[in-house]
């Protein structure tokens, strides 16, 4: 049995106070194991992004217990959460959010540099860009790349340091169908090759078909948690078992 990457028990998140308080999450229970390829779906306002922010240690829960990569997120200070993100979590954003003044390779290298990687960071960046089919575009800046190419660079940036957990917030929302397909295939390849855990939110039903497990949020609660028929997590990645917290 692999270690859980994420364990959430009764996680709540409230924004604001008093009459204007908004309960974005209302007691989320979720367990994600190493190597899962999980889609977080639900209508707008259901709490997907809020949950991703908590799982990414960008924010802390108002109540409940949340463990990410074995660390109690609620107990971590700002600096400790930054260190957790730097060492263990990769992010892919809907709007790519690449640094516009850096080239594709430099965007990837930047994260590795922040992690303190030495001279080998350039080779690592090139290797990851190769994996994502971006070898010829490594010297281009984001403005010189298409949306699909930018999102692939963003994925390369997220996975370059081989984080255990990769979080993607609507990664295909700004892509056309073809690019969305390409991106999902690449993400699954990376997960299959390196054993990373991918957790992404999406509205796109075509993207959901790539997920091994689909968690549906409604009104800040997990309404459904299902593994795709005939494609249980343990079948995708050897040595990875079904998530204990997964519900049919």
């Amino acid at each position: 049995m692999t270690e859980p990457v994420v364990v959430a028990r009764g996680v709540e998140k409230v924004f604001g106070e008093g009459a204007v308080a908004v309960r974005a999450l209302r007691g989320v229970d979720l367990e994600v194991r190493e190597g899962e390829f999980l889609a977080l779906v639900g209508p707008s306002g259901s709490g997907k992004t809020t949950l991703l922010n908590l799982l990414g240690a960008l924010d802390r829960p108002t109540s409940g217990a949340l463990s990410v990569l074995g660390r109690d997120v609620a107990a971590l200070g700002r600096r400790q959460r930054a260190a957790l993100r730097l060492r263990g979590i990769g992010f892919v954003f809907q709007a790519y959010n690449l640094v516009p003044v850096l080239t594709a390779r430099e965007n990837v290298e930047f994260v590795l540099e922040l992690q303190g990687m030495g001279a080998e960071r350039r080779a690592r960046a090139s290797e990851v860009l190769d994996e994502l089919g971006l070898r010829d575009l490594a010297g281009r800046r984001p403005a010189e790349l298409s949306g699909g190419q930018q999102q692939r660079v963003a994925v390369a940036r997220a996975v370059a340091s081989r984080p255990r957990l990769v979080l993607a917030d609507e990664p295909t929302a700004n892509l056309d169908g073809e690019n969305a397909e390409v991106l999902m295939h690449l993400m699954r390849d990376l997960r299959d090759r390196h054993g990373m855990t991918f957790l992404f939110s999406t509205h796109d039903p075509r993207v959901v078909t790539h997920a091994v497990r689909v968690v549906t949020l409604v009104d800040g609660r997990v309404a459904r948690d299902e593994a795709k028929a005939g494609e249980a997590p343990h079948e995708i990645l050897p040595g990875v078992g079904r998530a204990e917290g997964a519900r049919p």
Binding site: R85, I89, L102, E106, E109, Q115
Partner: protein
């Protein structure tokens, strides 16, 4: 700073070239003004100190013990000849000369003027006191000459005396008696200040000794080759002359020193105001630059960049802008400083040819100072200004909540 971070900082300065150019221009102009003000201050301070030192005060003066407090002209050195010898043997001494002073009245016919009679060594005095070189008529005293005097032109005019006339000098002797002597006027000095000229009288040391009945010099004045040699020379003299007191030109003219410090404080205030204005301008530009990139900083924070690292990234940008500002400042200031270092700024049309202050004739031409100090000062001012201007934006960035920023910013 690491490689990619350095590139990030460099390219970030090019995101909004107009704003960066304005920041660099603001720093460059402000820094150039500060350099000019400092160069002017240094030149003015040098002018003042040279005016005092060359006006006969010298860099150092050996005076009798107790003179510092009483300033009594009747006090004499315990061992005048030894003091003079020690001063002349001092390494770095350009010239040393002995003097004695007496408050005297000069009379011719029914006309009388009060003067400070200074008995000098003729040869040394010409090098010690530039007034001795400002002869308007006649000649300077000859070595060993007795009974001769050089007067200020105004004193001569008030006595209605001419060169070759004899004037009666009267002073208080050592026992309180009134002593007199006849002096022949051999030269007239015009300093440019009538007030000074009216009380100016130079004669031989021996004549003052004879008139006052007090033997030996009252002071030994030393002119050094360099201002910087004062502390070492003073220590050396004091060690050799334990019975005397050794004073610096600043101690001899405390009012003058106070005036210089007052001027310097005002100049520093002026420079400070310039730099504050520059600081506010650059700070505003830096803040605008940071606000435009809030989402980018939120992303960098989300990727695990710590607050300290973000601050260092901004500091890197500030350093680049500061270096460019320093280069511009040097480009603007150096040609002007070099020119005015050579030609000086002539205030004679405003102040007259010889402006006097605290009994010192100052020729009001200020030669701006130019030296190796300009480079570190330009770098220091520019970098300090830009780094200070980055503090508030950096603090703002360090407090960025990535979740909130990513949620709320477009």
């Amino acid at each position: 700073m690491a490689l990619v971070a350095a590139r990030y900082a460099l390219r970030s300065t090019r995101r909004n070239l107009r704003r960066t150019a304005l920041s660099v221009a603001g720093i460059g102009i402000g820094c150039a003004l500060a350099l000019f003000a400092d160069s002017f201050n240094r030149g003015r301070d040098r002018l003042y100190s040279r005016a005092v030192i060359d006006n006969g005060v010298g860099h150092l003066r050996v005076v009798p013990a107790g003179w510092r407090r009483s300033r009594d002209p009747q006090l004499r050195l315990a061992a005048g000849n030894a003091a003079l010898a020690a001063a002349r043997e001092l390494p770095g001494a350009a010239v040393a000369g002995a003097r004695a002073r007496a408050q005297a009245l000069l009379a011719m016919g029914t006309r009388v003027v009060a003067v400070e009679m200074v008995g000098v060594e003729a040869e040394a005095e010409q090098r010690l006191d530039r007034l001795a070189r400002k002869l308007r008529a006649g000649r300077w005293l000859r070595p060993g000459e007795r009974g001769a005097a050089v007067l200020g032109q105004a004193a001569l005019d008030r006595l209605r005396a001419e060169l070759g006339d004899e004037v009666l000098a009267t002073a208080v002797g050592s026992g309180g008696t009134i002593e007199s002597a006849m002096l022949t006027v051999v030269g007239a000095i015009a300093t440019g200040s009538e007030e000074m000229d009216a009380s100016l009288c130079r004669t031989s040391l021996a004549d003052v000794e004879a008139l006052t009945g007090l033997a030996g010099p009252a002071e030994v004045t030393v002119l050094l080759r360099e201002l910087a040699a004062i502390p070492a020379a003073r220590s050396a003299l004091a060690a050799r002359l334990p019975a005397e007191d050794v004073m610096t030109w600043e101690e001899l003219t405390p009012d003058f020193k106070g005036h210089i410090e007052q001027d310097a404080a005002f100049s520093r205030l002026f420079t400070g105001v310039i730099l504050l204005v520059v600081l506010l301008g650059v700070g505003s530009a830096q803040l605008a630059s940071v606000l435009e990139r809030r989402r980018e900083f939120a992303v960098l924070t989300a990727l695990g960049t710590g607050a300290g690292r973000l601050v260092r990234l901004l500091a890197g940008e500030a350093i680049l802008v500061g270096l460019a500002g320093a280069a511009l400042a040097l480009g603007l200031a150096l040609p002007v400083l070099a020119h005015l270092h050579r030609t000086g700024i002539d205030f004679r049309s405003l102040m007259g040819p010889g402006w006097t202050f605290q009994g010192v004739v100052v020729e009001p031409i200020i030669y701006l100072d130019l030296g190796a100090w300009v480079l570190p000062e330009a770098l220091g001012i520019s970098l300090a200004a830009t780094l200070l201007a980055t503090l508030w934006p950096a603090w703002f960035v360090a407090r960025t909540d990535p979740a909130e920023a990513l949620r709320s910013l477009p």
